[in-house]
Symmetry: C2
Subunit: 118 residues, 2 copies
């Protein structure tokens, strides 16, 4: 159901590795992986869902309103997240030299389609 829009994002961004739609409870709805050897996207997603929950709690304490985007740049992987709803998020994993800006843009474009299905 979400495979096609996920593939559209991952395959169209330079350095795209994988994409997933996941619940904040750490359970993936759908995933798409371009380069299998690079990362176990489900494990990454599960760890991220925990971190994201902490970020949302911090934002609540600080009264910053809802979180819409979130990004982490690590030595071996760049991760971009877009919150789709109160329960689900979209994540994109890129190589460290991947096109961060384009990834963000494609996620923004595809998000409404994913949101309509959730």
């Amino acid at each position: 159901m979400f495979k096609e829009p996920l593939q559209k994002i991952v395959d169209n961004v330079e350095g795209g590795i994988a994409g997933l739609v996941m619940g904040f409870d750490g359970i993936a709805v759908d995933t798409y992986v371009r380069e299998r050897d690079k990362a176990d996207i489900n494990t990454v997603g599960m760890e991220l869902s925990f971190v994201l929950t902490q970020v949302r709690k911090a934002a609540q304490v600080l009264e910053l309103g809802a979180i819409s985007e979130f990004a982490i740049k690590a030595e071996k992987l760049t991760i971009v997240i877009r919150v789709l709803s109160n329960d689900y998020f979209l994540a994109l994993a890129l190589t460290p030299d991947g096109n961060f800006g384009k990834g963000r843009y494609l996620m923004r474009v595809v998000a409404p389609k994913l949101q309509a299905e959730l």
Copy 2:
């Protein structure tokens, strides 16, 4: 000591609110605030230091290597973080419509100067 480089970042980015250099233990080294009414940068920083520690733990579990950058876009505030060392980070708070890309760029340019002082 860090006021001048912090001001250089905050005042030169559209939507810049505040900047700080902080330890991962949540204790600020220095802060610069352009618009006092918008955010209590120290409280934001303290909450962030906790979140960042969680992110670093997750990155360690996932063997992603060191975290270099981290960003959160919330309804009322955008926060960009650049890790300076194992103990310190640089944070920039922007309005939601602020120039995220320019903020990131200026942080990258100024970081070596801050790192040399830490």
